[in-house]
Amino acid sequence: MRIQHCTSCGSYQHHPRPICVTCGGDRPDEVEAAGTGTVDSFTVVHRAEKPYVLARVRLTEGPVVLTHLTGVPEPRCDQPVRLVEGSEPPVFTGSLFSGSCDGL
C-alpha cells in the first residue's frame, strides 16, 4: 500500500493530500508502506449479512488507516498485524500471535 512521505520534514501521512499536514510542505512523495502495524482499535460490525471486523491500524510509519482484519478470530487492541498482500482495498491479518478477546 502507498502512503505519502514529506520530502521536507520526513513525516508520513495517509490519505494523500497535496500538502504535508505536519510542516505545510507542498512536495509529499509517495512511498510503499512496510505493510506492518498494530491494531489501535477495532469493532465487529454485527449489523451486516456477515459480521466483519473494522479496525484502525497504526502503521509502523505512524499514520492510522481504517481497514478490515481478516483471519483474526479474537482481535485485540495493540496486537501486531500485517498487510494481506495483494488485497484491494488493503486489509490486515494477524502476525506473530493473536491474543485474547477484548470484550467482543
Binding site: 489501535d40 482499535s41 477495532f42 465487529v44 473494522l54 488507516v65 481504517l66
Partner: protein, 371 residues
C-alpha cells in the same frame, strides 16, 4: 462573564409526534419566547439548522421575521453550544438584541434515521473509508469504547452501568421517552443485540422526534423579564477530525480543549460546577466526556458523583438527531430550580457539553444562575 443571559427555554413535543420539523420548530420557538415573557416581534437573531439548505433564513421566513443576525453553522449535535458563543458575541457587539436558538427533528415519525454513512462525493472519507463499510457514527464510538475498555482494564458491564443510570434518571422525568418503562439492568444491556461491538442496542442513544429552543438577550434586559436570568459565563469549542482514521488518539477527544477554554473564560474549575449536561450519544461518551472535561482522572469517569444528565439524556429521555439544544434547556431549568423530582438542590452553576459527528466537534457552555 459575558453580560449575556438565557431568558427563555422550552422543549417542543418529544417522542413520536407525527408533526413536521417546522411545526415542531414553531412549538419550540413560541414556547421559549412565552417562557421568556417575549414575543416573536422581539426576535432579531436566529440560529438553527436541520430544516433546509438555508435553515435560519427558512425559519425566519416561516415565522415572518427579518432578523439582523443569523447562524446556520453545521457541526453536528455540538453546534447549539457553538451558537450560544456566537449569539453572546453578537449581542455584546450590538448586532442584535434577542436571539432564538432552536432545533427540531421529526426523525422518528418520518423514519429518516439510517446507520449507513452518507459520504459526500469527493471527500477523502468517500474514497478511503467508505469501502470498509463502517456504520456511521456508531462504529467510531465502538472503536473508542474498545480502546477505552482495553486501556483502563474495564469491560462491557462497566459501560452498561451508564445506560442503567440513564434509565433510572428518566424514571423521574415524565417527558422522557423511557419514563414509566421501569429500570434496566446491566444484564438487559449486555443481552441486547450487538450492533458494532462492544456497543449493543442499549449502549446507543434513542431515535426520537423532538427539539427545543432557548432565548438569549443582554443580562441587563433579562433582569427585567419574568424568569430568573441564567448568565452565559463561558464557552469554548474544539474541532478535531471528520475521518475515522484521522485522530491519532481515540481517547484524547476535543472535549479536553473545549472544556479548558470554557473554564478559562468563566474563571471556574470543574469543582465549581453543580450540574453537568453531557451529550450521551453512546454509553462510552459519558465517562470519557466527564474525564476530558476534568471531572475525573482518565479511567475514572464511571465514578463521577457530580450530578449529570438529569433528564435521562440521549440514552433514555430524547435524542432527536442533534441533542445539543436540549442540554441547554435542562441546564437552564436546573439553574432556575424548575426540575421537580430531578432537581439538583441549590444548583447555581451548570455545564453543557455538546459533541457532533464522530467526536468531530466539541463545544462547552458554562452557565450561572443570576443572583
Amino acid at each position: 462573564m459575558t453580560g449575556v443571559a438565557i431568558a427563555g427555554a422550552a422543549e417542543c413535543d418529544l417522542g413520536a409526534t407525527g408533526k413536521t420539523i417546522l411545526e415542531l420548530q414553531t412549538q419550540a420557538v413560541t414556547r421559549a419566547l412565552d417562557d421568556a415573557g417575549l414575543t416573536l416581534a422581539d426576535v432579531d437573531g436566529i440560529a438553527t439548522n436541520g430544516i433546509s439548505r438555508f435553515s435560519a433564513t427558512q425559519l425566519a421566513d416561516w415565522l415572518g421575521l427579518q432578523p439582523s443576525w443569523c447562524d446556520s453553522t453545521f457541526a453536528g449535535g455540538a453546534v447549539f453550544e457553538m451558537y450560544v458563543a456566537r449569539a453572546a458575541q453578537a449581542i455584546a457587539a450590538g448586532q442584535c438584541g434577542t436571539v432564538v436558538i432552536s432545533y427540531a427533528s421529526d426523525q422518528r415519525s418520518a423514519r429518516r434515521r439510517g446507520l449507513t454513512a452518507v459520504y459526500d462525493e469527493g471527500t477523502p472519507e468517500a474514497e478511503w473509508e467508505a469501502p470498509y463499510e463502517p456504520l456511521y457514527p456508531i462504529s467510531y464510538y465502538a472503536m473508542v469504547a474498545q480502546r477505552y475498555l482495553h486501556v483502563h482494564g474495564l469491560n462491557r458491564a462497566d459501560l452498561a452501568s451508564v445506560a442503567v443510570a440513564a434509565r433510572a434518571r428518566a424514571q423521574i422525568n415524565p417527558k422522557a421517552w423511557t419514563y414509566g418503562k421501569g429500570p434496566l439492568t446491566v444484564d438487559d444491556v449486555l443481552a441486547a443485540p450487538q450492533i458494532s461491538s462492544p456497543l449493543g442496542r442499549l449502549d446507543c442513544c434513542l431515535v426520537t422526534d423532538g427539539g427545543g429552543a432557548i432565548v438569549l438577550t443582554s443580562l441587563e434586559r433579562a433582569r427585567d423579564l419574568p424568569k430568573r436570568p441564567v448568565e452565559v459565563l463561558g464557552y469554548g469549542e474544539a474541532l478535531t477530525h471528520t475521518g475515522m482514521a484521522s485522530e491519532p488518539d481515540l481517547l484524547r477527544t476535543g472535549a479536553i480543549d473545549s472544556g479548558r477554554r470554557a473554564f478559562a473564560r468563566a474563571g471556574l474549575t470543574p469543582a465549581d460546577i453543580d450540574v453537568v449536561q453531557l451529550y450521551d450519544s453512546f454509553t462510552v461518551s459519558v465517562p470519557l466526556g466527564l474525564e476530558a472535561l476534568g471531572f475525573a482522572a482518565p479511567g475514572e469517569g464511571l465514578a463521577v458523583t457530580t450530578p449529570h444528565n438529569t433528564t435521562g439524556g440521549g440514552l433514555a429521555y430524547c435524542h432527536p438527531g442533534q441533542f445539543g439544544v436540549l442540554l441547554l434547556v435542562e441546564a437552564v431549568r436546573q439553574l432556575r430550580g424548575e426540575c421537580g423530582d430531578r432537581q439538583v438542590p441549590g444548583a447555581s452553576t451548570a455545564l453543557a457539553h455538546g459533541t457532533g459527528g464522530i467526536f468531530s466537534s466539541h463545544a462547552t457552555v458554562i452557565l450561572g444562575a443570576d443572583r
